[in-house]
């Protein structure tokens, strides 16, 4: 345990508290603007027992996403979604009781400028930010901009070497996003073997919450993930259902199965 922790932000405090209470953490994802009433999904997520909610700000070229989230991004953009509108939608919502974490590609951040971008997130009630194409060694300008109130979550991957893993764990805020496998987002038949190894390696360098993402789509996988990590991110499994027409209630039912799986473990 080498990671010195600065004063934790809202997201991290929330997640640490729940983890420390023995709860397996669940962070479902939704692509902002995917449907006219998309914010209803957020309510459903909260109702299903989400511990944090990831809101994707769709980008034209989602290079780390598999087909499902690519398609969700395209659909949302075709509907006229933009960072500005999605944040406006969020601003209009009552507090759900769980922190919101935005995720997007770095081009959208740079386009507005890191300072403005983070300020806009804050105004919309978003507490955290995930930028999958912004690795730790390129993160300085956003870290600085985010310092005032946005927790910048960094990602660790199975090929990240140990010293770098330590740096990521140290500089990540909110939690450490452990990428379960070498691949893009998307549902998989089974949890990758690399997931366990990576989370163990992260645990050696930090006591920050560790959420496993990429490929977790079933209660069984969630249960298995929980054995190693503090919780899971579930994106493509949610968005496939949304693209197939599932409404907020359907998603609440689906997430409830994951919630139960995490609680059982």
């Amino acid at each position: 345990m080498t990671s010195p922790t600065l004063a934790a932000g809202v997201v991290e405090r929330h997640l640490r508290a729940r983890r420390d209470a023995g709860r397996g953490l669940l962070m479902p994802y939704v692509t902002g603007g995917i449907t006219p009433g998309w914010t209803d999904y957020l309510r459903a997520f909260a109702a299903a027992g989400a511990d944090a909610i990831e809101v994707g700000l769709p980008f034209s070229d989602p290079t780390l996403d598999g087909v499902t989230i690519q398609q969700a991004s395209e659909t949302a953009l075709a509907r006229g979604a933009s960072t500005r509108r999605i944040l406006a939608d969020l601003s209009g919502m009552p507090d759900l009781g769980v922190p919101l974490v935005a995720s997007t590609y770095y081009n959208l951040v740079l386009h507005d400028g890191p300072e403005s971008f983070c300020a806009a997130l804050r105004r919309a009630g978003v507490g955290g930010l995930i930028v999958p194409d912004l690795p730790v060694h390129e993160a300085d300008e956003l870290t600085d901009a985010a310092a005032a109130g946005i927790e910048l979550v960094l990602l660790a991957s199975p090929t990240t070497p140990r010293p770098r893993l330590a740096e990521i764990s140290r500089r990540s805020r909110g939690f450490v996003y452990a990428v379960s496998l070498m691949g893009t987002t998307g549902e998989r038949a089974a949890l990758a073997a690399s997931a366990a190894e990576l989370t163990e390696r992260i645990r050696c360098v930090t006591d920050r919450p560790v959420l496993l993402g990429f490929g977790i789509s079933t209660p069984d996988q969630a249960r298995e993930a929980r054995r190693h990590a503090d919780g899971v991110v579930v994106g493509a499994a949610v968005m496939r259902r949304v693209l197939d027409g599932a409404g907020p209630d359907d998603l609440r039912a689906f997430l409830a199965t994951l919630r139960r799986a995490l609680d059982q473990e």
């Binding site: 980008f59 386009h111 194409d133």
Partner: protein, 378 residues
């Protein structure tokens, strides 16, 4: 890995380590006379280097300038792309990789990558937008004939930008045995400068040929077309330390350097065409190789420094230039290269190029691939 504020390695964490390995291996290889010698030999005996410097006689007279063409169209597979792929394929072999991954638009880089893979006994997987596959059916067949797997990309605009994204996605899952052979001076560090180093043979050769051929030794202007910008980067590299004025010519509809905004795409920070929301917009050019919404980071930097100028020409100007070169010199240029010539013609006519100037222009590829496009237009 930085060019002023541009460049960098904006890769997903899963690719950071492999990018570091590529960089390390490239640095070692580039300092290794054995590697340099092996590459030089492949370029000579297989790819047909050195390529000639062709003095353009009749058109020069008409334009009132002295125009020289660096003939990359005469290399094996017909464009400068071969310089880079042979280098990267040799590097992949050195790294113990068994496969090349590549993206391609019109198919020139894909054909070159498939060629280098076949030559060195590697496999090749080429990602190509479904729309480009329809438009460039013969290049698809050339790749398959060379033994490459061509994977249709059905997402987004189904063209080069999406093929590049898909190649990167695929690479994330295949870093252990595959090398991603990027075709231009774009992508995460070390690609922009590694590809430039593999392409600098264009400029280095031309520099020596100009020294032997021109009274002034160095041309007044050095001109090349810019899509991602690899032939321009390689050409400019040979003249960076001379007084030659460097001009990069972009397509009106794909002018990343001339009209792009700061952004990050495909692993690097550079200038990209974007809409008001920060979404990357689709480029439009009759030349498939210029049909990319960004530009390599080094070009963005050269622009900021004022060391190079970036100008644009229209589809129609490029077509006119292609026809003019064919009729006056017996050379049918690639439509990409025709952009560079179109600027020379316009600039000579408009006084932007003083009478009597010596101009070196890189003819990056041959126009055979474009003949069916032109056939429909002319």
């Amino acid at each position: 890995g930085r060019f002023g504020e541009y460049g960098g390695r904006y890769a997903p964490e899963s690719l950071v380590e492999v990018c570091r390995e590529v960089e390390e291996e490239f640095r070692e290889a580039w300092a290794d006379p054995g590697f340099r010698g092996a590459l030089a030999r492949l370029l000579a005996v297989h790819a047909g280097r050195p390529t000639p410097l062709t003095p353009v006689r009749r058109l020069s007279q008409e334009l009132g300038v002295q125009l020289y063409l660096k003939r990359e169209d005469l290399t094996h597979t017909g464009s400068h792309k071969i310089n880079n792929v042979l280098g990267q394929a040799l590097l992949a072999t050195r790294m113990g990789r068994r496969r090349l991954i590549a993206e391609t638009g019109a198919g020139q880089h894909g054909v070159a990558a498939a060629t280098a893979a076949a030559l060195l006994g590697l496999e090749a997987t080429v990602f190509m937008g479904e729309r480009d596959i329809e438009r460039q059916a013969l290049n698809v067949f050339r790749m398959r004939m060379l033994g490459a797997e061509v994977v249709p990309v059905t997402t987004g605009s189904r063209t080069l930008k999406d093929a590049t994204s898909e190649a990167m996605r695929h690479w994330v899952g295949a870093t252990g045995d595959s090398h991603y052979c990027i075709g231009s001076v774009v992508g995460p560090d070390p690609y922009p400068w590694m590809v430039r180093e593999f392409q600098r043979i264009i400029g280095d050769e031309a520099r020596g040929q100009c020294a032997a051929e021109l009274r002034t030794g160095v041309p007044d202007y050095v001109v090349a077309c810019v899509g991602g910008g690899s032939n321009a980067a390689g050409t400019f590299a040979g003249f960076a330390d001379t007084p030659a004025r460097l001009v990069g010519v972009e397509a009106e509809g794909g002018a990343g350097a001339a009209r792009g905004r700061l952004g990050v795409l495909h692993g690097c920070r550079s200038l990209f065409l974007q809409d008001d929301d920060g979404q990357i917009t689709q480029a439009h050019s009759i030349a498939a190789g210029l049909d990319y919404p960004g530009v390599g980071p080094e070009h963005a930097h050269l622009r900021d420094l004022g060391r190079a100028r970036y100008v644009t020409v229209t589809d129609d100007e490029a077509i006119g230039a292609a026809v003019r070169l064919a009729r006056s010199e017996g050379i049918v240029p690639a439509l990409e290269s025709a952009h560079a010539l179109a600027w020379v013609i316009r600039a000579a006519g408009g006084g932007d190029l003083p009478a009597g100037s010596t101009v070196l222009m890189t003819l990056s590829g041959r126009g055979d691939k474009d003949v069916s496009t032109l056939k429909e237009l002319l």
